[in-house]
Amino acid sequence: MIQKPSGRSHIEREELKLNLTPYIDFLVTLIVFLIATIVVAPAAILDINLPSASAPVVTPEQQQEQKPSITLTVAIQHTGFTIGGSGAVLPEIPLKNGGYDYEALSQKLLEIKKVYPDTTDVILLSEPDIKYDILIHVMDTVREATVTENGQKKAVALFPDISIGEVVK
């Protein structure tokens, strides 16, 4: 038979206990706060090059030494995208279902990348009232393309050095 503990010793044991509840509350709150701030802000940045005030001076000798490369431009217009390079202009990629056809642009740029694998820079031209969201989307499309290879999606770098400017009419 177990004897009932005496009342006195019971009180003594009670006194030794530390009340940890507020501390645990605080820790839980802090952990939740820290985890929330880390997960919720997945910010990233896009690098851009400012169009320089003066055009880079390239002497004819330098031009001959260079590997086949082009000065690629992608213009965002109200009617669609226009890809141009070294004087030549490809036919416009028109709007599709009222929105810009990013997939067609991606396909065209992949073809160009195959011909000029060393070219990494592109000039992005935009009409003055194109929305920022569209501009960022085009920058993404120009930077890299997603290709499906053996059933697996893979990101391929296209032209990551982007300069931006305004469409000159």
Partner: protein, 162 residues
């Protein structure tokens, strides 16, 4: 019988919390460490919706210029209200923004001077712009920043969750 259940209840209340607190403390220390290590805490103004992008470049703690649909803010302080004439005029300079950026650039140059080049002024800044602003406004801000000595400009975006 009645006595026994009471005894049981009593032991159930005194839970051994020490391992849990240990774990919590370690977790807090770890989270606090990684918190400060990122160096940049995404602080985006209210009613500013950043565009999403596939970019994975990590933002750095540099001068931030936020552009909402109504105001331009430098380091969280309103410096210029956006009016309709800004959108249409051909003048690329935004005077109030320019003054504010010049002040920030001067501060950066002063720090460079006082630290004997240990903290050089790199002219880096980051633009947090609302996804609905027109290209014309972005162009103006970039032009103004370039004139004030900020030549390395990054655009802040939200990572697209694929």
């Amino acid at each position: 019988m009645h006595k026994r259940t009471r005894e049981k209840k009593h032991t159930a209340i005194s839970l051994n919390l020490t391992p849990m607190i240990d774990m919590f403390t370690i977790l807090v220390v770890f989270l606090l460490k990684s918190y400060s290590a990122t160096g940049y805490v995404g602080n985006v103004a209210k009613n500013l919706r950043l565009p999403t992008s596939t970019s994975r470049l990590q933002p750095q703690a540099v001068l931030t210029v936020a552009v909402t649909t109504k105001y331009i803010l430098v380091e969280g302080k309103e410096v210029e209200a956006i009016n309709q004439s800004d959108m249409t005029s051909q003048n690329l300079m935004l005077t109030d923004l320019s003054a504010s950026l010049k002040k920030e650039a001067d501060k950066g140059l002063q720090i460079e001077k006082l630290s004997n080049g240990a903290n050089p002024f790199k002219g880096e800044m980051m633009i947090q712009a609302d996804r609905s602003i027109p290209f014309r406004l972005l162009e103006k801000i970039m032009y103004t920043a370039g004139q004030a000595g900020y030549n390395t400009i990054n655009l802040e975006v939200l990572q697209k969750t694929s």
